[in-house]
Symmetry: C2
Subunit: 340 residues, 2 copies
Amino acid sequence: MQSSSLMEFQEILLPTIETALKASFEVHDFSSSAALKEMLAYHMGWSKNEDSAGHGKRLRPLITLLCTGAFDAPIENALPAAVAIEFLHNFTLIHDDIQDKSPRRHGRPTLWTQWGVAQAINAGDALFSVAQLTMLELVKTTDEAIANQGVRQLNQVCLRLTQGQHLDIAFESESEVDTQAYLTMIAGKTGALIALSATMGGLVAYQAQDRLALLSKFGKNLGLAFQIQDDILGIWGDSNTIGKSTASDIITHKKTLPILFGLQRCPEFQQEWQNEDPSPEQILHMAEILSKCGAQAYTRTQVEIYTKQAFDALDRVYSHKNAYTEALFDLTESLLNRDF
Amino acid sequence: MQSSSLMEFQEILLPTIETALKASFEVHDFSSSAALKEMLAYHMGWSKNEDSAGHGKRLRPLITLLCTGAFDAPIENALPAAVAIEFLHNFTLIHDDIQDKSPRRHGRPTLWTQWGVAQAINAGDALFSVAQLTMLELVKTTDEAIANQGVRQLNQVCLRLTQGQHLDIAFESESEVDTQAYLTMIAGKTGALIALSATMGGLVAYQAQDRLALLSKFGKNLGLAFQIQDDILGIWGDSNTIGKSTASDIITHKKTLPILFGLQRCPEFQQEWQNEDPSPEQILHMAEILSKCGAQAYTRTQVEIYTKQAFDALDRVYSHKNAYTEALFDLTESLLNRDF
């Protein structure tokens, strides 16, 4: 459930973000390969005759803009950073889909299934550069030092993302993964970029280092809670609301937090996990065993811990409240209590 | 044949470049995935117990440093840019090898054959960010505006590179490619990055726009001549000196400039090209047909045209000559008259 304040901001800001994304994309010279431009437009959900199905949630740029507005600073100054982060996120999705061999995203074929692996790797690389060039546009709304700081942080985050991704790929072929290693992985893969989204909101508002550190803490914990909530939905989510099969992470044998807990603490689950082709009944049974041995309770507790830390950081950084801070609190709550 | 001036510079500068590359790499925090760091070190030729076989020529950073020195400016100011461009070049090689399915480079297995496609894509992405972060180090040797400009140009070049790469991949499945489209492709794929190497040498020496444009012209033409010379060696090179089979580009059915000329102008070659599994004798015969119909002469003329343009630009930008300009002229000559 979303509060009216958050919904009002979304109504105004999502079209602003979409317009800025398109404008930042159109500025580049793709004259020697219109086909490459077309691939990127397709990935971003901007192909001709396309409804909104191709779009993502634009969650990260929304966080950046709200974090800037919450300092009573002009949110348009943050637009280049907000949009750059969304491009960066989309670059990682293009390469992730190849690495995971995912055939579909947002209900449409992924780039690599449509154009082949070689062209999709290359298109991702192009979008990475679009992200960097967009971040540099901060020179127009702030100054050169802030723009350079933005690019620096964006690439430092990428080094964390690629380390998280390295672990994620490596985990697939490892029989045992401990929960601490899993948390390190998602901190890199999901936490680092959401932390950047929040931090950039403060950086463009010329905030001091201690506040930027709190924003980073807010974003990181929000990202961790968000990802772990995803893990819960991947096993116990309602198939009607999440749009996947019930217990889909058990079906795809994905090593998420509740499953790692089960493998470490629950011999009965450990045994069932060996079954490489379980029936639908066996899958539901595995989800039940996990619940019984405490995996669901453990995972929910983790979500609560990270959510509390996110709220704490938010509360400390914004001692002065306004409509934007209210929307940020609402956004955090809505992401974590979601059942979709 | 190389002059003593160039050789002396290489003796001093190549170890300087290698040390700077390693120092710029070591500065990053790879604490959550040492294995990713190891992959990158392997690609760069820095694995333990490795002789120099893994190293590339470090041609691009050498050009940057020489271009700076040729303005009588301190070459150490250019080191971050020089090293960033070498990292960028290596990032493209990692992804190229996946896209081309090349099993070996510098006599060793490529990253993707050693660690799989998913990890290799990810390692390339990490090296891309290392390149960007290294370019930003220009703030220490120049200022924020130059660093900003360096990152901007690096990413604009990447957009040209990815367009060139898109065309290159697309050409593989096209039956007809015209020579103009081929030149556009190599201008993006090879010319743009060597143009950047030269331009950055002038930018860190605070040169005006007209000189930077001449440096870019020099680098672009050098890159084109270099690539087309490669095409000649790929058909008529001595297998002993180039380390590949004679007529290797005919064997791999690669659409290089002399081959495209043959397909357009030489019906006999066009016919032989249809043979999907030619014998060694037939391959040598195809190389002969190409020579007879004028493909070798045409291609050599192209090398000469671009070389002349490279020399012209060099001469105009450096009206005042010093030991560095001499080395630049020598380098250009040695690259274009090479038979290896």
